[in-house]
């Protein structure tokens, strides 16, 4: 299908963009990488009256490391983050997830901020942000707000960004020493959205797990922290039995959605396998990174 008509705005500063958002509110959509939004427009599922293209806002690009956090501008292209040595060294979980996002051509245009603002519950980056308690920096009429990941994802394709606010930056904590990470997913084909995916980060020091973070994607309308599993893992030594139990705890209360690719029961079963395998991979990764 062809895109429906819309008014097109191409602000060059965040302030301009905020003014436009404030003016048009729900009638406006923000165009970042376009890899999620343009298909919706082409299928005429999204019908914004105004499209605000933020690709020309230079201040939204760039990465910096400040106070143990990696601040990534919202318009940072996924491939730039993928190729970044800084990301590989300081946010290894993000580095692990990025290659799984679609295909290279998608990552040429897709952005870190765009993906997180779109908040597809089967996408990889929301699980990474949730696992690491990333911070979302938005700018609106009333100034800047910093929103923790736990409060960012509200529902299906819905975030706590107010209509007049623009996501400007996402801050990820730098990984501690002895961290091991993995992003493990089950997908129908290479590059597809996850049926179920798991972002795992843990510290493995002296053979003992601490600071385990597990966030599942594809199991709800938002990414889900497996808090019960995280509690179980704290202070324990990795073992198949431990990971089995963690998988059980991570999945027993899940009520995943059903669709053409799998029933709710199926996703729950797969989630358990993903948790087992993801934990094993993260533990291995911790040993390798040493």
């Amino acid at each position: 299908m062809k895109l429906p008509p819309f008014e097109y705005e191409a602000p060059t500063t965040v302030a301009e963009a905020v003014d436009l958002l404030a003016e048009h509110g729900d009638e406006a959509s923000v165009l970042a990488g376009g890899q999620s939004l343009i298909p919706l427009l082409a299928l005429r599922l999204a019908r914004p009256a105004v499209l605000i293209d933020i690709n020309g806002i230079a201040e939204l690009s760039g990465m910096s490391v400040i106070d143990g956090q990696v601040a990534i501008g919202a318009m940072t292209r996924e491939y730039v983050a993928e190729e970044s040595g800084t990301v590989a060294d300081t946010v290894p979980l993000l580095a692990a997830a990025l290659p799984l996002i679609g295909h290279e051509a998608i990552r040429s245009r897709g952005t870190i901020g765009g993906s997180l603002a779109h908040a597809d519950p089967a996408a990889e980056l929301p699980a990474v942000a949730r696992a690491l308690d990333a911070e979302f920096v938005v700018r609106g009429l009333s100034g800047e707000r910093v929103i923790p990941a736990a409060e960012w994802f509200e529902g299906y394709l819905t975030t706590s960004r107010r209509p007049d606010e623009l996501l400007a930056e996402v801050r990820f904590p730098a990984a501690e020493e002895d961290t091991g990470v993995s992003f493990h997913e089950v997908a129908r084909r290479h590059g597809d959205f996850a049926i179920v995916g798991l972002a795992t980060s843990l510290v493995l020091s002296g053979g003992v797990i601490s600071d385990a973070r597990l966030a599942l994607t594809g199991v709800s309308d938002v990414p889900v922290r497996a808090a019960a599993a995280e509690e179980l893992l704290a202070g324990e030594r990795p073992s198949a039995e431990l990971f089995d139990e963690a998988a059980r705890r991570a999945t027993e209360d899940l009520d995943p959605p059903a669709d053409l690719h799998g029933s709710s029961e199926y996703r729950k079963t797969v989630a358990a396998a993903v948790v087992r395998r993801g934990l094993r991979a993260a533990a291995d990764n911790a040993r390798e990174r040493r």
Binding site: M1, K2, L3, P4, P5, F6, E7, Y8, A10, L31, G34, Q35, I38, P39, L41, A42, L43, L51, D53, N55, Y79, G102, H103, E104, A105, I106, S108, R109, R189, H190, G191
Partner: protein, 162 residues
């Protein structure tokens, strides 16, 4: 309507597309560069792949106006003066394609990929091309074409080095 200028295959091209016109449609309809094909218009099949500022992108997932001031290479730009690129030649030699509809997307994606990963393994090549759909070939002949091109490029580089 916005007036834009885009460098396409080395030449400055101008047009006045509506904001909603995709880059794919701008190339095909406004500039009559019909080599870039449209297979799904929702970014899955890869037939519309072109190279923008050195990176393979899906032209159906960009607005034409977003390409203003940029460098775009389409399939028509790979063989200036009629001399096929090493990849095109290798694909011809390998019987890579049948109906040809997916071909421009594969050629552009593989061109970009080989440029960055000249020594990729078969598995890496398959993964890199897994975002391009072909209905005719079962992919093996396409992969063979890419592998052959990579091998020939290596031979050339080795010759240049020695």
């Amino acid at each position: 309507m916005t007036d834009i200028t885009v460098r396409i295959n080395g030449a400055a091209r101008t047009g006045s597309p509506e904001a909603r016109t995709t880059l794919a449609d701008f190339l095909r309809d406004d500039l009559e560069l019909t080599g870039t094909h449209v297979g799904c218009e929702h970014g899955v099949c890869g037939a519309c792949t072109v190279i923008l500022d050195g990176r393979a992108v899906r032209s159906c997932l960009m607005l034409a106006v977003q390409a203003a001031g940029r460098e775009v290479t389409t399939i028509e730009g790979l063989a200036p003066d009629g001399e096929l690129s090493a990849l095109q030649q290798a694909m011809w030699d390998s019987h890579s394609f049948q109906c040809g509809y997916c071909t421009p997307g594969f050629v552009m994606q593989a061109t970009a990929f080989l440029g960055d990963h000249p020594d990729a393994s078969e598995q890496e090549i398959r993964e890199a091309l897994s975002g391009n759909i072909c209905r005719c070939t079962g992919y093996q002949s396409i992969i063979d074409g890419v592998l052959l091109a990579a091998q020939r490029n290596r031979t050339l580089r080795n010759r240049e080095l020695s």
